[in-house]
Amino acid sequence: MQNFINIERVELRQKKVSERVKDFKQSYELFNKEDATTQASRCIQCGDPFCHDRCPLHNYIPFWLRATYFVKEELAFNLSNESNPFPEITGRVCPQDRLCEGSCSLNDGHGAVTIGAIETYISEQAFKKGLKPKFPGITTDKKVAIIGSGPAGLSAATFLLRAGIKVSIYEKELKPGGLLTYAIPGFKLDKDVVFRRVNWLKEAGLELHLGKEVGKDIDFDEIINSHDASFIAIGQEGSRRPNITNENAPRVMMAIDFLRLSQKKLLGEEVEDSTHLKDKNIVVIGGGDTAMDCLRVAIREGAKSAKCIYRRDKSSMPGSNKDFKIALEEGAKFSFNAAPKEILVNSDGEAIGLNMQKTIIEKDPKSLKESIKMVKGSEFKVDADLIIFALGFISKKSNFLAENGVEIDKFGHIVVNENLETTKPSVYAGGDCQRGSDLVVTAAADGKRAAQNIIKSLLL
């Protein structure tokens, strides 16, 4: 270990641009054994493992890096899977540069340990060798219902099943995974990776009810009455809207809807809107990771151009630098310091472009807070066949909650106590629907915490 002194940080290799834009398959190559062991050997094994501390799941990172270095593959797999319900997923989708790798002691000039890539390697390598997560089967008479099969729900299910508790998941979509399946594009996260986990959970005793929307297809109180406890993990699917003229016009989409649509098509699900993007000009408003995903999806769908417009400058982009670079490589165009003023429509009322306005960042000399100011007279037009807004998420109102005594705060978030229990006893909530839009890994952490509390209340 501590080989950072001799070995440089190596990141995951992206496939050739010309290759990878052809399809929605995983756009990068996983680490091989040599990559993983040599990169793992760079770890210092700190006395204060900042990576572990920063990780919402508090993954045992230094431990499995060490095990990887010593080629104790099963040990690494066990350690990694103990704290994390799906390490091969978080390894792929976590913004490590903001979490573990960002706080890695070596991330001060030496180059952080490539924690995410190794995390993915550990599980994939173990799967290749035939290892699987272990479950005891249903060993108790306890039953728990989970609403939503996104990362929070799947995480909770995993930990509950480990305690031998019977779990039923109710999912409104036809495929499980929530945003893992419908929002994260396949080139980042192959859908088989998600379904593989779900299948193991099913083997372990998970009952999965797909296409069942609670409050619509099935009553909430029916669920909670037939289970010893329930966990609400319905995510936060509402989109923040720009509040400008014509924002509801055809050919204007919210990012999440765009991504879901694209994914549904790939999965062969029936869709109402079957817009083809071939030879079309796409404009994405927003500068986060979701915006990058939309751009890359558009490129893969054959768009003529995919352009991103962001109201601040490049260095202020909220997403990961890595995603930005990849999108740029794949041909996305970027325009900074501009904000939409109105959507231009044709005579059919369909969107055909945007009226934009230049922005400038002003710093308040006292509070040093930055604010965005529009530059007067700087309007310009941008043509577009499809406009996608990637401005972040807000909650979508779910009536069944309030109706059943589950309190919701003014932001639309479910109110819980320190055990993640809602105002309705034995009903727990976690993930985006409770905390607001956040990461896969935080949702997974919530699911784990809720499960642990449910286990404590039911079994111990």
Partner: protein, 1470 residues
């Protein structure tokens, strides 16, 4: 014993005798002279007259007493004895008479001893008893025959009858001896006891002693000699010896005393007296019971025989036989003893005390701590020698014969057919084991994971503790300090052994190096009962033995088979029975039941080996903490007086490191079978698919590592053998309740009493529940991760957790108050984690405006950085610290390891210079550049241990600063080799005060129970400042168990020191500093209130300059460029002096704000104010910490001046000053010198270094021609330009730390049999030349790194830890030559072909030089010998040179194995 009243003592001693047994008054006056000439080895009260006590034991001057009695109208009969008694009242006389009467004795006379009380100081006068000699004669015929026995019996009875009269004391009661002693300085003894100046007071021999005690309320009775001996040193194993004395006592049958009489004599000794007095009790008991004088002596203080291959096998047999009955009274010791007929002197097994002897032509013998204690014409000297490690010499006064070590050994080994007896009766477990670790069935445990969880084997423990043991056979190494709460305050699962903190030697005694000096160490243990130790029969050899207390399956099964009636090997002497330590509920009751059933089995079933077994923990059953079980059972057996029959063996899962093993042994286990530990290793091997061979090796390594770790723990306390460690209780217990301590661990100090049996049970139940959670929840990874050693989310609390580190970084970068508030918030809201968190401040004043509070600058003056050497940290970090602390007007601490000469006179000079056991870079200019010199006796992270700077870290820069060779591993010994006792430390303080009279001398010690007494001793050694280091203190590298388990939090040590110093009226004489985890203002204020006036920062300072608590300091991979010398890493260093100043400004502001709220303007006014601290916690008892002792609270701002003013050298300095002023001049001075003229040369060298640095003056600028016997530390820290030529001999520590110049010692009589200098000469020398035409004592050239020396003979352990320089030995040498020697060269002339056996070949090899390839070396040697002849006229060297062609073949050249090229510079040979 109450540790607030406890004391430790050490001293100087001597013995002189007329070998022909002819009494003379000369002998009496000589004895007094010896005592006076060693005054500097004692200590003095502030009245200048009261000492800690001194005295002389004389052969009875019969003529004198006859006349004295006659004057009192009594004609003395032929047979009489005199009791020398310290009386308080007449009632006591009545008791004495009565008891004498009952014992057939008759009091015939009371003689009031004529005294002159003016000779006493006030302190002594206050306590002066009435001193009376009581003359007693036998009353019956029987009494005539049993006179000795009856006197002894009567004395013991009187003592026990008057045991409540604390001051009552019988100094001696004998018909052969009489003791005159008291609380005066040696120079006043003669004046006080007028008898001693009466020319009729003619004696044939005398034993002399002067005491140096740590207490300031010494008593008359504690003065030595005792009735049979005088002891200089410290018996580290005394707890164990005391315990065993009681155990053995129960089995004793005496041929002298009847059963009824014996009952009155028991217990043989008790703990209300000093260790030396206990040894005296034991020795006297053996003598009076008819044990031969020499056997008794060697039974109690044996030579090291276990690992001494050079020892005669029949002598080994004697020792092995004796070891069944006696464990060594171990520790540094020079003891003179007598029974009236024989007088003897014996040295401890490691030769840690000096004992020098002279035999004269007119039949006198003098043994003393120093040479030169009486004036003897050199012509009259027949022999001039020194006892070596473990040797004894004696005088048979009856036949007028001196018996040397060999003669005594011959006598001992032939006194009984020991070899035969052993062959018949003794078995070794090993004999029955074909291949150890080939059986593994015990290690295949079904519920392994459950057990590991219950017994707290986490993944972290596996990786950091167990794996290193299995792989490398060594304990795992860690770094930085321990920032976790005590087990008692923890909310997490902790092992029970966490409540125990290891004891260690510091100041009053010294640790041993168990690696380099393993020759004295032993882990031998035996099973079988103690027989009557007063007899020697073949049956006494009936023992099962094994070389280590750590058993494995094979040995365990064999041991079991010996006690199993169904097995053919069965022998009822080893009958065994297993007792399960499992329970379901009611821990306390279950323990009681266990103890009762063991007692019953030993009493009624004849069980002799008790297995306490915790196997079988399941979902219903928990295991009692094994230490509790062992302690409880052991105490029960002892209480029932049957412990001598039984041995306890712990079969336990709780032991997986050396600390836990040591705990069990210290509380009574004879052996341990750590099955879960092996199972863990075995399972790991299995999952790694290791081969059978590998698995076996790993298991073997693990066993070995536990053994090595045990050795380290006992050596830390200065104990060499496990038999003297067993039952020693050498731990402090923190946080258990008094009831548990009393019932299970009564002989340990209990600090912060708290948790009850029920609390422990609750914790066990929680652990158990958590362990068996596995059955409820399928875990992918079945173990807990840990968090005890490193931070983990959900694991143990760490004070330097990631949030704190981030906050400290941010605050230090921005210097903003709001960022500092974050640190404060994190630390102050941590809740009850550290001791200080339980102490709340309740001020007696109203808040004041902050502007009234003293400024930041005043607070800064109290700050310093903790010692971190250049070497342990990078030059950038080291310099940033120096600059920042200098800017603040605070002080940075160099750590030991030298500093660039260019820095010494610049702003980057560290004001504190440290001197540690390695003496690396400790030169006159280094010492002279300091405002404070800090002697590091111990450090918080690893008290009692040495260290190592691996060769790869020794860059050219480091090497140059440390005066060594790049790439050569540097070993720091565990102890200062010029300080194994308090009077040695006083000498070291004296040396330093000479070389730098302007600096304060500080001593750094580590918090432990009993530290108050040590601190008091330090004040009396003239230290100016004492640093109480806490267990939180960091380190560059130490074994994990040392970081965690040795040393207590500073709060405990500091409060004890404050209290004891105040009680002894010493507080105003010293400054107190503390360190260990201080971070925020509240820490500082609380530390001040507990007594500290200065504060040091180690880890915090590093965190400020970028440290991220990586804990990899020992790997040279510090990614932030602090703890590394690697240039690539150093580029990443981000620390600046500004960051340090930023943080310390905020911290000082924080202190100011607290002062304002408390209504105090100055921190000074809060020092020692424990009266303002309160606790609201009900569980734990903090009353000892919060105790407020009346008295002065802080330093009186005056230097602690030694009573020896060193006028001698001061006068000489005046004479040579013109040469220092004008370096082109030179001077030759002729002077007479005495042994009381100590450290000669240091004062002048310091003065030279002040102006010229280490360059010094041109060679021979100042030449001294001295005549006489020089005192200790001649030529210490000698600077270039000084030449000392001594016509005579000198004492210990010649040329220590010399950095240049030349010392030539020419005794009148030359040669190997003429000792001309003492122990530890040239310790830490960096340069210079020494030529001695005679022999020297032990540890010659220890840690020499550059001096060249030629001597004609050396004692044991020569060239130990040497890293450079050249040594030529022309004659006899002792054992263990070149241990730990990683550099330099030695030439050894070995005509008798005995050298190779004495060479420690671990690191060095010897080669011949009479061949072509050694041409260079040969000629170098020749040149050096020529110089030796020129300087000393050495006959031996001359002979060798004249016959060089023949004689050169007898030379060996010794050099380190990994040093390829011989670094000989021809010019050094001239």
């Amino acid at each position: 014993m109450d540790r607030f009243k406890s004391f430790k003592d050490s001293c100087s001693f001597g013995l002189l005798a007329n070998i022909e047994n002819i009494p003379s008054f000369q002998n009496t006056t000589d004895a007094i002279s010896v005592l006076k000439r060693m005054t500097h080895r004692g200590s003095m009260s502030k009245d200048g007259k009261s000492g800690d006590g001194c005295g002389i034991l004389f052969s009875l001057p019969k003529e004198f007493f006859k006349i004295e009695a006659k004057n009192l109208k009594i004609d003395l009969p032929k047979q009489y004895a005199i009791a020398m008694v310290f009386l308080q009242n007449e009632e006591q006389k009545r008791v004495i008479e009565e008891i004498c009467h009952e014992n057939d004795l008759k009091v015939i006379l009371y003689r009031n001893v004529p005294i002159n009380s003016k000779a006493l100081g006030d302190e002594a006068l206050k306590k002066m008893p009435k001193i009376v000699q009581i003359f007693v004669t036998p009353k019956s015929l029987i009494a005539t025959k049993r006179f000795d026995a009856l006197i002894y019996l009567a004395r013991r009875e009187i003592e026990s009858a008057l045991k409540d009269d604390e001051e009552f004391y019988i100094a001696s009661f004998s018909d052969k001896l009489i003791v005159y002693k008291g609380l005066m300085m040696p120079s006043f003894i003669e004046e006080f006891y007028q008898d001693l100046s009466n020319p009729l007071f003619k004696t044939t021999f005398a034993i002399i002693h002067q005491r140096f005690s740590t207490d300031t309320t010494p008593s008359w009775s504690r003065a030595q000699p005792f009735r049979t001996l005088a002891h200089n040193g410290e018996i580290n194993s005394v707890n164990s010896n005391l315990f065993h004395a009681t155990t053995k006592g129960k089995r004793i049958k005496s041929q002298i005393f009847t059963f009824g009489e014996l009952k009155k004599l028991l217990p043989i000794t008790h703990n209300k007296q000093s260790d030396s007095a206990m040894l005296d009790n034991m020795f006297e008991f053996l003598l009076l019971n008819g044990i031969d004088f020499f056997k008794a002596a060697r039974s109690l203080i044996p030579a090291p025989w276990e690992n001494a291959p050079h020892m005669d096998s029949s002598l080994r047999a004697f020792y092995e036989f004796t070891s069944a009955s006696y464990e060594p009274w171990d520790g540094p010791a020079a003891v003179s003893l007598t029974d009236g007929r024989y007088v003897g002197c014996i040295l401890d097994r490691n030769g840690l005390r000096p004992a020098k002897y002279i035999i004269t032509k007119d039949s006198r013998i003098i043994v003393a701590s120093e040479f030169g204690v009486i004036d003897i014409d050199e012509e009259n000297i027949l022999e001039h020698g020194s006892l070596q490690s473990g040797q004894m010499m004696g005088i048979d006064l009856k036949f007028g014969k001196v018996m040397k070590n060999e003669e005594i050994n011959d006598y001992l080994k032939d006194s009984n057919p020991y070899t035969h007896w052993l062959n018949q009766n003794l078995v070794y477990l090993q004999e029955f084991v074909e291949i150890p670790f080939s059986k593994t069935s015990d290690y295949e445990l079904e519920n392994l994971h459950h057990l590991q969880r219950f017994f707290n084997i986490t993944q972290e423990v596996k990786e950091l503790i167990i794996t290193p043991m299995a792989k490398d056979g060594k304990e795992g190494t860690g770094s930085m300090g321990d920032d976790t709460p005590l087990a008692s305050f923890s909310k997490k699962q902790r092992t029970f052994m966490d409540f125990f903190k290891q004891k260690f030697a510091q100041v009053i005694n010294s640790p041993i190096d168990p690696i380099r000096e393993k020759i004295v160490m032993s882990l031998n243990v035996g099973f079988g009962e103690y027989r009557n130790v007063l007899k020697e029969t073949p049956n006494h050899a009936k023992r099962i033995k094994t070389i280590s207390p750590i058993l494995m399956q094979e040995k365990f099964e064999i041991l079991k088979s010996f006690g199993d009636e169904s097995k053919p090997r069965y022998n009822q002497a080893y009958k065994n029975k297993a007792f399960s330590t499992l329970f379901k509920s009611d821990l306390k009751g279950s323990l009681e039941k266990l103890a009762n059933s063991v007692v019953r089995a030993v009493k009624e079933e004849g069980v002799r080996v008790v297995f306490l077994d915790d196997r079988g923990v399941n979902e219903e059953c928990l295991a009692m903490p094994m230490a509790m079980a062992v302690g409880r059972v052991n105490q029960a057996l002892q209480k029932e007086d049957i412990l001598h029959k039984a041995s306890i063996v712990a079969i336990t899962a709780e032991v997986f490191d050396a600390h836990s093993s040591a705990c069990l042994i210290a509380y009574g286990a004879s052996a341990i079978y750590p099955y879960l530990f092996y199972a863990t290793v075995f399972n790991e091997c299995k999952s790694d698919e290791n081969s059978l061979f590998e698995t076996k090796t790993y298991l073997k390594n693990s066993n070995h590592a536990l053994g090595q770790g045990l050795l380290k723990i006992l050596s830390k306390m200065g104990i060499a053998t496990i038999s003297s460690y067993k039952n020693s209780s050498l731990f402090d217990i923190i946080g258990l309740c008094k009831e548990i301590a009393k019932e299970c661990f009564p002989n340990s100090h209990l600090l912060i009493p708290g948790l009850s049996y029920e609390d422990i049970e609750t914790r066990l139940i929680e652990n158990h529940k958590k362990a068996f959670l596995l059955d409820k929840v399928q875990k992918t990874f079945p173990l807990e991760l840990g968090g005890f050693y490193k931070y983990l989310d959900g694991g143990e609390y760490h004070d330097f957790n990631p949030s704190v580190v981030h906050a400290v970084h941010l605050a230090s970068i921005t210097g903003k108050k709001e960022d500092y508030e974050k640190v404060k918030e994190l630390i102050n809201s941590r809740k009850e984690r550290m001791v200080r968190d339980f102490l709340n401040i309740k001020s007696d004043r109203k808040p004041i405006d902050i502007n009234e509070v003293e400024p930041v600058e005043e607070i800064w003056k109290r700050f310093s950085s903790a010692a971190m050497s250049l070497g342990s940290i990078s030059p950038e970090a080291h310099e940033a610290l120096a600059e920042a602390f200098n800017t603040m007007g605070a002080m940075s601490n160099s750590g030991e390891g030298g500093e660039l000469p260019s820095r010494l006179k610049s702003f980057k000079n560290s004001k504190i210079k440290q001197i540690a056991s390695g003496r690396f870079g400790v030169t006159p200019s280094y010492l002279r550049s300091a405002q404070e010199i800090q002697i590091k006796v111990a450090q918080g992270a690893k008290p009692g241990e040495g260290g190592q700077l691996p060769g790869h870290k020794v860059t050219p820069l480091i090497a140059s600063l440390r005066y060594t060779t790049p790439g050569v591993t540097l070993i720091s010994p565990p102890s200062h080799h010029d300080s194994s006792s308090i009077e040695d430390l006083a000498q070291l303080v004296f040396d330093l005060k000479q070389v730098n009279p302007e600096a304060l001398i500080a001593v750094k010690i580590v918090s432990t129970a009993g530290i108050g007494a040590i601190a008091a001793g330090l004040v009396k050694s003239y230290a100016d400042k004492i640093i109480i280091s806490g267990s939180e203190g960091g380190t560059g590298a130490a074994s994990q168990s040392s970081i965690k388990y040795a040393g207590n939090p500073w709060e405990l040590g500091l409060s004890e020191v404050q209290r004891v110093l105040k009680a002894n009226n010493l507080r105003q004489k010293v400054l107190l500093e503390t360190d260990g985890g201080l971070k925020v203002g509240l820490d500082i204020v609380k530390a001040a209130m507990l007594g500290a006036e200065k504060f040091a920062f180690g880890t915090l300072a590093l965190a400020i300059i970028g440290c991220k608590i990586l804990r990899v300091c020992h790997l040279n991979r510090c990614s932030v460029g602090i703890a590394t010398q690697d240039e690539r890493l150093r580029e990443h260093f981000v620390g600046t002096k500004e960051r340090l100043i930023n943080y310390f400004t905020l911290l000082a502001q924080d202190v100011r704000e607290i002062l304002a709220t408390l209504g105090y303007t100055k921190l000074e006014d809060l020092i020692g104010r424990t009266d303002l601290l309160k606790t609201s916690n009900k569980k734990f008892d903090f009353s000892e910490i919060l105790h407020y002792e009346e008295g002065i609270n802080r330093w009186g701002k005056r230097v602690n001046k030694p009573f020896d003013n060193n006028e001698f050298e001061k006068e000489i300095l005046k004479e040579v000053y013109k040469v220092i002023e004008n370096s082109r001049e030179n001077i030759v001075l002729h002077k007479d010198i005495k042994n009381s003229n100590r450290s000669f040369g240091a004062l002048i060298s310091g003065e030279i270094a002040k102006f010229y640095g280490n360059e010094g003056l041109p060679e021979n600028s100042i030449r001294f021609i001295l005549n006489g016997v020089a005192g200790q530390s001649l030529g210490a820290f000698l600077a270039s330009g000084i030449t000392i030529r001594l016509n005579g001999v000198t004492n210990d520590y010649l040329g220590k730390g010399m950095s240049g110049g030349k010392i030539v010692i020419v005794p009148k009589k030359q040669g190997a049999h003429y000792f001309s200098a003492g122990n530890s000469c040239l310790y830490g020398a960096t340069n210079g030349k020494v030529f001695i035409a005679g022999s020297v004592g032990e540890r010659f050239c220890v840690r020499n790194s550059g001096a060249t020396a030629v001597v004609e003979g050396v004692g044991d352990h020569a060239c130990e830890y040497m890293t450079g320089g050249i040594v030529v030995v022309l004659g006899k040498m002792g054992i263990n030559f070149g241990a730990g020697m990683t550099g330099g060269i030695a030439f050894v002339y070995d005509k008798e072909h005995g050298f190779i056996d004495k060479l420690n070949q671990e690191l060095v090899s010897a080669m011949r030089i009479d061949m072509d390839e050694a041409d260079e070396a040969r000629h170098f040697l020749k040149r050096l010998l020529l110089t030796h002849v020129n300087e000393t006229k050495s006959l031996k060297a001359q002979y060798i040179l004249e016959n060089f062609r023949q004689e050169v073949r007898y030379f060996w050249m010794v050099r380190p194995k990994d040093m390829m090229k011989v670094p000989l510079k021809p010019e050094d040979g001239d």
